[in-house]
Each structure stands twice: as C-alpha cells, then as structure tokens.
Assembly symmetry: C2
Homo-oligomer: 186 residues x 2
C-alpha cells in the first residue's frame, strides 16, 4: 500500500494538516476560529450576504476575495427568486463539508479518488414556517445525502471514507446537534 500512497493525489495537503495539528497542540488558543458573514437587505425577501474575512490562528484572515451571495424566496412563495432559499444554502454547506472531508480522509488513507458526486435533499412541511400548525417545525424534518464515488478502493473502504468524513464534519454536527444562536438588535 505504501507505493500507492505516495503516488496518489487528491489535492489535499495532509502533511500540512498534520503539521497544523501538532502546532495547535502547543498553542490551543490559535485553534479558536470565528467565521463571519454580513447581510444587507435588498427588498422583499431578497438579501445579499458577503463573506470576506474570519478570525483564526490569533488574527484576522482574509479570504482570497470577497464572496457575495443573493438569498431569496422562490416564485411559489410570491417572491422574485433572485437566489436560492436560505435552507438551500444550508444544503450547499453540508454537501461541501462532507465532500471535502471525503477527499481529505482518502488522501490520508492513500486512496485515489476519481470523482465524487453527492445529491442532498431536505424535506420540510411549510405549514411550519407559515405558522399554520404549531406541531410542525420550521426546519427540515429529515435530510438525506447520497454519494456516488469513483475511487481505487473497495465498497467497504469507500463507505468507511464517508463515515469518517461525517464524524469530523462541522456542518453535519451543526445539523444533528443543537447550537446556541443569540439574535439581538444593536
């Protein structure tokens, strides 16, 4: 397996990540990150949200560029559909998180990936957000992610990659466990 390990390249710098882990073990304060987004209301249910910088390793870190996103409701909600709905952005984050994890774990395990596709879907009864039934929650009642992975590995190895990615995924954790959210007016 060692020869294969050296030849494989999924584009993840595992050596750097393992180095970071050692460095952070000496300076756990540097592991405290704060991620940020800034939102400006445009009109109706349409907002524009910018992601530009975050705090980590003891200082402000700039993304390579400023990323902006339109969030809106669709035409069936009597809105203008200038962008995905808020819950679809959550699915984007979940898909990206689990997929990055699969690539990182595969690199670490010496498994060459050829392709990864994921279909993500979340079911919701909109009687919740419309305030029609207090027994119906606002969010998804269930989320399903299905992976199709082409890699130099057995099915069992591929399933193990996916399982390990789930175990270390920030967004999977955010969805499956409760987080305190404090909303205030300045």
């Amino acid at each position: 397996m060692q020869t294969a390990t050296q030849a494989i390249d999924n584009g993840v710098n595992v050596t750097a990540l393992l180095g970071a882990r050692e460095a952070l073990a000496q300076a756990p304060e540097a592991a405290r990150f704060t991620w940020r987004a800034h939102c400006d209301w445009v009109m109706g249910t349409h907002s524009r949200v910018a992601v530009e910088a975050f705090h980590g390793l003891g200082e402000t870190q700039q993304h390579r560029q400023r990323f902006t996103f339109d969030v809106d409701h669709p035409a069936v909600f009597a809105a203008e559909d200038h962008g995905p709905t808020p819950v679809e952005y959550v699915l984007v984050g979940l898909a990206g998180c689990l997929t990055a994890g699969i690539a990182a774990v595969a690199q670490h395990r010496g498994i060459q990936l050829r392709s990864i596709r994921a279909s993500v879907e979340g079911s919701m009864d909109i009687q919740g957000i419309l305030g029609m039934d207090p027994e119906v929650r606002n969010g998804f009642d269930d989320i399903r992610v299905v992976y199709e992975i082409d890699a130099d590995a057995s099915r069992a190895e591929i399933e193990a990659l996916v399982a390990q990615s789930q175990k270390r995924s920030a967004v999977y954790d955010l969805l499956t466990n409760p987080t305190h959210v404090m909303v205030s007016v300045k």
Copy 2:
C-alpha cells in the same frame, strides 16, 4: 395606523402568503417541500454545488436560473480558497432567513423598513474538526447575530419583528434543534 399600513411597501406580498396559507389548509399535502442541491468534487477540498429545482405544491419547481457555488477551505488550512467554507454557507443561510422573515413580518405589521444589516458570527474550536480533542465539537459552539434596522418603528417594535422572525425561521430552527441526517453511498 391603517393609512400607514396601506402606504408601506417592503416588497413582500403578504396577501399572497396569507392566500397560500388558506389554500394549503385545504390541501396540506401540497405543503410538503423537498429542497435539493447537487455537489461535484473538483479537487482537494474544493467542490461545486448546484441548486436548480425543488419539489413543492405537488410538483417539481424550477428556480429562475441554476445557481452554482464553490465551496473550499482557506489558505490557513493549506487549501486554495476557491470559495467560502461550508460553515460560512450556513451563516449565509441563517442571515438570509432571519432577514427575509423581518421583512415579511414588518410588511404584515405595517412597518416601513428603510434598511436592515446583520452581522453574523460563529465561534469554533478547530481542535474538533482536526480530531485533536474528542471533547471539542466539530461545529460552532456559539452563533451571534446582531441587527441594525432603520424603520418607521419604535425600538420595542423592531425588537418584536426580530423575535417573530426567529420564531418562524427555518434555518434558526435547523441550528438550534437537532435534525436527522442520513448519509449513504449509492
């Protein structure tokens, strides 16, 4: 207040939403929505996620256009920063969800909005995702949203708008309450 109510315009069609609520009360099956995203791995921690269609009101609904998003890890994680991190996409969704709710509630209450800005931040100890400490969770340990709202309303009325938006927000619910997420390999 009635004259003001008729003149105000936040761009939210409250009449249509109230009509939808009545229609759905007669046909609750139509309120079952499924939101979708499709993810393709690019390289390393970089993926591209598309949002294009969803299911609702008994049939497939197309967004006005296909929206695509790059998700990646930043340079400090030894990655190429082709897009925001997965957790930042979750913050985008949260900001967009609460802000759309504020606009809708304000319209319903006859409050003219002039501007809404939100700063959202989530704190995380990355010892979790790096697998350094099993006591540290992978996701945010805390999320804070601060609103600055300029509107024809008292501070108490503005705070009430924000509180009502939280109460009906899908993403706020998704973060503060656990959801079942099923991940499988096809």
